[in-house]
């Protein structure tokens, strides 16, 4: 595919068009991904997640600057929610990333969630693959840690950085989203604000709950460090970068890198299978038949579970439906 060839050869506009093609899931998207895939698997994928306003974009800007000072190239995918009412989105993460402008070793792309269930993880994961294949050594994915979709994206990363900030409520934000279990590095940003130490302490106690059972072997296991930063002026960011790099080495030396890769591929494969199977089934059933079934369920002649089971068994036995 010519667009893929040009994008992977370093043409930045071709790269941008390729990302759009994949994001819009157009007719050529599958062929493009097929051509991209053999070139993936080299980037260190780092998820940056946390509640809105904690300073994720500011931190991404600072982290990218550190990597660039070591000649390491950085791709950034910044995800913000699509408005469920209008289908539009306000993508404002670039406002905090002005320092990266003009650097050919950086490519930033803003993405809206576009609200499809499970589709977010898929599209974002595919855009990450494009940046990986284009040769960016680190790919940073910024997401609002708010729900299952974001957890899925975070899970697709090798290293997950969870960003908290003091004064965003009494409770540690991440506890609600269940993100703490998947965080590899914990950052309390806005350490210039009062309450940072308390937030760090709350995190430490919360992390303790997920730590290994007493008596279990813990040496050699990754302990998520809890670090404080002032992303606004760069304080503490070098330590975050070191922690991310240490985590990469840890994954690589323990064989967990490959294991995570397998888990990710499995989840992705199952996700596609699930979506495609459902689409296939719905096409086979047909809207009319589905409608009739729904009416029967509403009339309490059937329950949803039995309806689904009998549909599946009919489909599997290749009997006619109509």
């Amino acid at each position: 595919m010519e667009l893929v060839t040009r994008a992977l050869a370093g043409n930045r506009y071709a790269l941008a068009r390729l990302i759009s093609l994949i994001e819009n899931d157009g007719p050529d998207a599958h062929a493009a991904l097929q051509a991209v895939y053999p070139h993936t698997g080299r980037a260190h994928i780092v998820g940056i997640t946390g509640a809105p306003g904690t300073g994720k974009s500011t931190l991404v800007n600072e982290l990218a600057k550190h990597w660039r000072s070591r000649q390491i190239t950085v791709g950034i995918v910044a995800v913000d929610p699509t408005s469920p009412f209008s289908g539009g989105a306000l993508l404002g993460d670039r406002v905090r990333m002005h320092d990266l402008a003009g650097d050919p070793g950086v490519f930033i792309r803003s993405m809206a969630t576009r609200g499809s269930l499970g589709g977010l993880a898929r599209a974002t994961g595919d855009v990450v693959k494009v940046l990986d294949a284009a040769g960016f050594a680190v790919v940073l994915v910024e997401t609002v840690g708010a729900g299952q979709a974001e957890v899925d994206i975070a899970r697709a990363a090798h290293t997950v950085v969870l960003v908290e900030a003091p004064g965003l409520g009494d409770e540690v934000q991440a506890l609600k989203a269940g993100l703490l279990e998947i965080a590899d590095v914990l950052v309390v940003n806005k350490a210039d604000r009062p309450g940072a130490a308390q937030t760090a302490l709350a995190l430490e106690m919360a992390v303790g709950r997920y730590a290994a059972n007493p008596g279990e072997r813990t040496e050699g296991l990754w302990q998520p460090p809890i670090l404080q930063t002032v992303a606004l002026n760069g304080t503490g960011v070098a330590e975050v970068l070191e922690a991310i790099e240490r985590h990469r080495l840890y994954l690589q030396t323990t064989g967990l890198w490959a294991e995570r890769e397998r888990a990710r591929v499995r989840a992705e494969l199952l996700n596609v299978l699930q979506q495609e199977a459902l689409r296939h089934i719905l096409t086979r059933i047909g809207e009319q038949h589905l409608h009739r079934l729904i009416e029967r369920i509403v009339a309490r002649e059937l329950d949803p579970c039995s309806a689904a089971y009998s549909l599946l068994s009919e489909l599997l036995h290749e009997r006619g439906l109509k």
Partner: protein, 132 residues
């Protein structure tokens, strides 16, 4: 499935007010568009780079400083040089009447003076970008 329009909103130059740009950004979002908001004090080069990376259909420039006659041509030239001549450029802000035809001649797709309703702006951009 129709894809949402993608619009970059930026404030080139040195003036420090982005209230208008933010109001327009929200109106475009509420009209179903994906708005990439770039913020204040952008050079034309930064705007062109962002338009390229984000693969936008249109660029909205908010200029209150009076520097539109130097900033707008640089953005247009940069877009052309980057192979983005298809990207439509809109300008909002305080633009004297005599500059309007000149900007149009340069290739600006729409000019919105102070007090233009967001409804008018949204409809105009929609019309201009129909088929993008």
């Amino acid at each position: 499935m129709s894809k949402p329009l993608r619009i970059l909103i930026a404030k080139p130059g040195l003036d420090g007010h982005d209230r208008g740009a933010k109001v327009v950004s929200r109106a475009l979002r509420d009209a179903g568009m994906e708005v990439i908001y770039l913020g204040l004090r952008q050079t034309p080069e930064m705007i062109v780079e962002a338009a390229l990376q984000e693969d936008v259909d249109g660029v909205g420039l908010s200029i209150l400083s009076g520097a539109h006659m130097t900033l707008v041509p640089r953005v247009l030239k940069g877009l052309r040089e980057a192979g983005l001549e298809h990207v439509k450029v809109f300008v909002g802000g305080v633009i004297p009447d005599e500059d309007v035809p000149v900007l149009r001649e340069m290739g600006v797709a729409g000019i919105f003076g102070p007090g233009t309703s967001t409804h008018t702006i949204v409809e105009f951009i929609r019309q201009q970008l129909a088929g993008s």
